[in-house]
Amino acid sequence: MDATPRNDLLLFLIFSAMVLAGPIVLWPFGAAYPDLLQKFAIFGIFAIGFNILFGLTGYLSFGHAAFLGVGSYTAVWSFKLLGMSPFPAILLAMFMTGLFAMAVGFISLRRSGIYFSILTLAFAQMSYNLAYSVLTPITNGETGLRVLNSDPRFLDIAFGGDPNYSGVLLSNFFGIDLTGYAGFYFCAAVLIIAFYVAMRITRSPFGMKLRAIKSNQNRMAYTGYNTRPYVLTAFVISGMYAGLAGSLMAVTDPLAGAERMQWTASGEVVLMTILGGTGTLLGPVLGAGVIKYAENIFSAYNKSELNEVFWMLPDGLRETVVSVASLFVGSGWHLTLGILFMLIVIFLPGGLIEGANRIGRLITRMTNRGKQSDQAASVSGRAQPAE
């Protein structure tokens, strides 16, 4: 599909419709419950943001989870101090991660390639280690940061909240508790906005420059551009997306822990982006959805459920099949993830979107062949460059 404004609008409308209809669309897959839907939306935002950096500029950051963590912590602190409204939490989280990303990016972007990856990884690991050790007064260490009834929550109380409220504190949107479907629709609305912004960035002259940096940074410099400010801007935007995702995690479930900052979490978002399709608009959201869905499905199975799945097999065979299959489900789900990861990188570096495009091309070619005479088909076959 060409990137004309009309097609973009169409894409955006279809995307919004699909997201809003998520509970219905995903119902046949058994994924239509709020917790999972929230995860889809939140990790979708995270991956969209990561894609702005990696997909457009080609800079592979291995430390994006740090921004997710900073976003979560800021949001929870906003709940504690200001009150349970999601708006100050989200805005503050994006502001703080923006600043943090600016500092990290300013240093890390002095290098590129593998060095950039290592530098971002180093910063993320530093944040993670500090969150567990010295910064415990801010992060509450291994216990995780949570909102307490005794916290000040100034704005809530100023607007007539009950200071002695003793129930569970949930983030609320003008009186609607943001859990369950309400939480999902809040995240979905943010996801749609995030998607729209990412689309505008990709199609803008700025996005074009970022892609030029990816394809050849030297030539870009020769044409008179100082590339670093552009990449830094992309890095900060990408970090703010991660902060937004982190704050939404806190909105749907008001607590924050340092494990969100671990480098495996950074690896996960890389995987989501690659799986969906690096540099595409829909890819990252798709990748995030597939991975969270697969995680949910695979990690929920255990041996007895597998026995039910393979009930039709004879006993001896079933035991073998179940014992092999059980390696890949439950706690062994990471094995499946690793294999999936390798297969995608080896055979489909463009991700699922590229796979879909290939299938689409194959179908068009086959239908064309059906219509045209043999000779014409062989000509069009020859016209394809032999790569």
Binding site: A122, V134, I339, F341
Partner: protein, 341 residues
């Protein structure tokens, strides 16, 4: 003074492990130009070769002794490892020395794994971007560690050093520095072993024809190829060699740190920092930076230092990496023109 020396030894010890892994990483990067995120997994596999061998030697033969009974009336079970039952003293020796013996087993195993990895997977990624190399080896590392987890479980499995090395050496008396400075024998052994392996690798590259070809290939791969030398096959063997170095480092480290499935990842991240600080593609740099960072880390974890700069022990390595990369992008001893941008 004693604490200072003790921390120095600790640092050298840790540095030995870093240096060995970083050496392999650099060797692979320098020859094949591949950033191998699965190198930590090779360290882990080495450690689990030791675990497997120890379990194999300790498989027990159960004999019922009808003459004696336990308090609840069943005959007493006499459990003897098969190795001991069939081989006698020799078998007892094998069980006791299972860690050093594992090295002999680990060498061919790791060589095989390394060659299979290179021929089966890495080979296809030479022409691909670095990002894809990182990602595919990262995926491989996840797969390997999950397989190990599926077989051996998630808990660390402690391994015993041979009884002869289980005590502590009175280092203070040896160096005539007075009393009080004692250090585990096995850790000293590890240090000596690391030094030996590093020396062996350097000697191999420096004094053999094979090593000369490899060094030439690191300098200019194309020219060596044009001279009619099959550099690809040499490099495959180099990959196997790097796998062996990581593997034996893993074997020797088991009595110090009980291996679990993510030991490889834990070391990998730090080893990358080491390689980058040392300079991509520089073997001397990797070794130097390995020991340097090991020592820095153990000094940073002293209470005196921590009381001045809280939390410094957690971040010192990364901090050093950031400073070095910014001040000297090539790393401490990096060659000119190797991945500078």
């Amino acid at each position: 003074m004693d604490t200072f020396l003790l921390q120095l030894l600790n640092g050298l010890d840790k540095g030995g492990a870093y240096a060995l892994i970083a050496l392999g990483l650099t060797l692979i990067f320098g020859t094949l130009g591949v950033v191998n995120f699965a190198h930590g997994a090779l360290f882990m596999i080495g450690a689990f070769v030791a675990v497997t061998l120890n379990r194999f030697f300790s498989i027990e033969k159960v004999v019922l002794d009808p003459t004696k009974t336990t308090p609840w009336g069943t005959p007493v079970e006499i459990r003897t490892p098969y190795a001991e039952a069939y081989l006698g003293d020799w078998g007892r020796f094998l069980i006791d020395y299972s860690v050093p013996v594992s090295i002999l087993v680990a060498i061919p195993v790791m060589l095989l794994i390394g060659v299979i990895m290179e021929r089966g997977l890495i080979k296809h990624f030479y022409k691909r971007p670095h990002a894809e190399q990182i990602l595919v080896t990262f995926g491989l590392a996840i797969v390997l560690q999950e397989i190990i987890k599926a077989i051996f479980g998630a808990n660390p499995i402690p391994q015993q050093a041979p009884a002869a090395f289980s005590g502590s050496a009175d280092v203070g008396a040896m160096l005539s520095l007075g009393e009080g400075l004692v250090y585990p024998w096995w850790r000293l052994m590890y240090l000596a072993f690391a030094g030996f392996v590093i020396a062996a690798v350097f000697a191999f590259l420096q004094f053999t024809t094979f090593g000369m070809v490899v060094r030439a290939g690191m300098q200019d791969r194309e020219t060596v190829g044009l001279l009619g030398i099959n550099i690809e096959r040499r490099f495959t063997i180099v990959f196997g060699l790097a796998a062996v170095v990581a593997g034996v480092a893993g074997v020797m480290y088991t009595p110090i740190l009980p291996p679990d499935y993510h030991i490889g990842m834990d070391f990998l991240v730090l080893s990358f920092v080491v390689v980058v600080v040392g300079g991509m593609g520089s073997l001397e740099g990797a070794v130097l930076a390995g020991f340097l960072l090991g020592i820095l880390q153990s000094f940073a974890s002293m209470n005196e230092v921590k009381s001045i700069l809280p939390g410094i022990d957690q971040i010192i390595l990364y901090l050093v990496a950031v400073v070095v990369l910014l001040a000297r992008p090539r790393g401490l001893m990096g060659r000119k023109g190797v991945m500078e941008n």
